[in-house]
Amino acid sequence: MSGATLLKESGPKEVFCGLTSIVWLHRRMPDAFFLVVGSRTCAHLIQSAAGVMIFAEPRFGTAILEERDLAGLADAHDELNRVVKNLLARRPEIKTLFLVGSCPSEVIKIDLSRVAENLNIELKGQVTVLNYSGSGIETTFTQGEDGALKALIPLMPKSDQKKLLLVGTLANAVEDRLISIFNRLGIDKVESFPPRQSTELPSIGPETKVLLTQPYLTDTARELKNKGAEIIDAPFPLGVTGSTLWIQAAANSFGIDKSKVDSILNPLISRAKEALAPHVEKLSGKKLFLLPESQLEIPLARFLSNECGMEIVEIGTPYLNRDLMKAEIDLLPPDCRIVEGQHVEKQLDRVRDSSPDLVVCGMGLANPLEAEGISTKWSIEMVFSPIHGIDQASDLAELFSRPLRRHDILNPTKTLTSN
């Protein structure tokens, strides 16, 4: 490991819980429905985080626990059964139903796996019912996706076919682009997990080589490994360097000739660097503070410092998986401060003390920081925007240069200073 300083902090946190992942998972698999078994708070959380998406026909909902559900667990199981059947009668197009555990359902110990098992027997393959926990007492934000993917793994068929499996939700356009690049390199069989249809799960076996597209898939990676798959060590595909190393790692693992890889990637790299240049100009020398939320903080900091010249004040992360993150941490500039966990008040004190030019943070904190004159970027945008891959590096940089550009437009006399 490099000279990054790894610290831990605890205290009051300001992060989303795993339920929030539903907001992008339901878009990835339009034939799946996510039913949170929880409270009115859970329903309110998802609708607040999902914003306008709720106004379409939503493929997520909440079975809201009421007083009488708390009285007896057996009754709660029956009630859930009833709610699920009503839902399925109304929405016959649903192929996979995720029962998503929440803080209250975990605390009163509703056994969602048992409910799922019973429903699967009753429904006889019409719909597959799965369960995982998105509860805020166990998961943060992106860990919800980790849980959902882990729940799908037992359903993946076995296969001895040699293939590359991209794991983690990507924007469809980005996914197509990355697959076409792997195809050009000579890796013909490339599949994705999660798939675009919940019923079209990729197969898995000892010849499957897994390339993680997202950094928050700790449990999923472990389970895939248990299924015999090989996890390719690589940094994550953010920025030109990260994406290049990520593609190269896969190419290496498939024994593809380095000169072939270079001949295909080099034109992309030089084009991407050109596109990146104006953003680098804007970002270079600016101070960046990342508050913990998505677990994308370390790869983002690595890209913004190494390729965009930003100065990293602190990298907050809700959870640090040192194995999965090793390649990333090795690339970080020396003396980078990584803080796992959070004491939001103390961390905001550090933000103010360091007067950064840009803070990456959750939606609740952004405007208060803006009101103090600190530009911000919502971390939730990173999980919605097509930012992965060499071709997307300038789009990724643009997400960060825009707030600074805007600040300059609105405050022409007062440019941001780094002191």
């Binding site: 166990e138 939606m363 609740g364």
Partner: protein
Amino acid sequence: MELTLWTYEGPPHIGAMRIATSMKKLHYVLHAPQGDTYADLLFTMIERRGSRPPVTYTTFQARDLGGDTAELVKGHIKEAVDRFKPETLLVGESCTAELIQDQPGSLAKGMGFDIPIVSLELPAYSKKENWGGSETFYQIVRTLLKDHSNESKDTWQEEKRRPRVNLLGPTLLGFRCRDDVLEIQKLLGQYGIDVNVVAPLGASPADIMRIPNADVNVCLYPEIAESTCIWLERNLNIPFTKTVPLGVGATQDFLKELHEVLEMEIPQSVNESNNSKLTWYSNSVDSNYLTGKRVFIFGDGTHALAAARIANEELGFKVVGLGTYSREMARKVRPAAKALGLEALITNDYLEVEDAIKETSPELVLGTQMERHSAKRLGIPCAVISTPMHVQDVPARYSPQMGWEGANVIFDDWVHPLMMGLEEHLIGMFKHDFEFVDGHQSHLGHLGGKGTENINQGVKTTISNDSTNTSSDPIWTHEGERELSKIPFFVRGKVRRNTENYARQAGCREINEETLYDAKAHYKA
């Protein structure tokens, strides 16, 4: 267990947060897991607040549950008091913490602080946001004033001063509360009445202590302030006004009620017709086309009730649906609906509301942001009159709902979508003119001008699909369809249905131009 895809109200602790965040020098320690911190964004994004809510979440985790969560709670309480130095501390729990029964309120009271501590018990599995807001405000006022002597004090006349009132109920995330307070302050000033305390919005615990200095409480938002007003009346002998000044008539009634309670003579100016432009605008010839417009109303209790009165009495609309998501207000909304010949729709299910809109085929929907979306899908104009709040409901401009200016705003907000409705019709009529051939973009989206018809065509298809015996269904001739297409889109669906019913009754196999006119005459008769 209730399946919910979307909900009008959050849980009760969100109501408590609305009170805490509305006030000053007060801090709320909320025993809750980390995910519950999403609530901050309601204030910082929807309300665009430049400061964080004064809330410390204990953000306990699964691993804490095995150990001593009570100690964890106490640690957070101590830290919050040290850091924020509140004058009053609220302590409560969200749904999950309610299950583990740490009783944070009692814990806080045992910690020896010398500030008032308000312990909140808000049953998360049976109550909702507005109830939580109301209960929190009540508990704060009760805690801070319970030792206040209630011996009778001198009246404003005896003290030879101007009368003073408190404005109770406005909160953050309440519909246009910020501007309503300014408007009512201005209005009262014109009648020589001073405002003593506005609460919860902008009030500190010290301000709450000054509530008894007023002669009357003005209950601006019964959802939030009614229980507090009742307590203040019973215990401190402060009467309160029951009329909410939304609309011209209600503002007049409010002023009369307030003058009576204060034993002031009612000035003639209260009844003048030029206080608000709404009266004249509604009387002007241009507004003739508003007559009998079918309007569907749904929202919180206060705004839905007021909207029904304004629509019925001041704009000459016909109210075809009235409802609320607020069960606490059902008692008031039911008789109001009955007086209009309707049955009130009391529900928290937006799909049920959407069905009711379809069923009544209104020409205007007055609802929440959710009804705005439902109306958009149905191609019906809509104005938003109530919470839940959306970033659009916190306009940069001054835009009250209450008082004379509020009535002006309401006239514009409700009538402009309808003007556009008329415009849609004209565009429909002139759609073959060359100016419009390039597909004039409707503000209602692609459904504009066709929505109601589409719904009914949908219904029609279903009928003909699932019925083998279609012989009883009359068939529209080319001429009939052409005549139908000349009818304004917003009544076209209704005309289509009526004509088909008539044709069936009359035994017509075909609907031609004449059948349409026959049906028209039949239903007018």
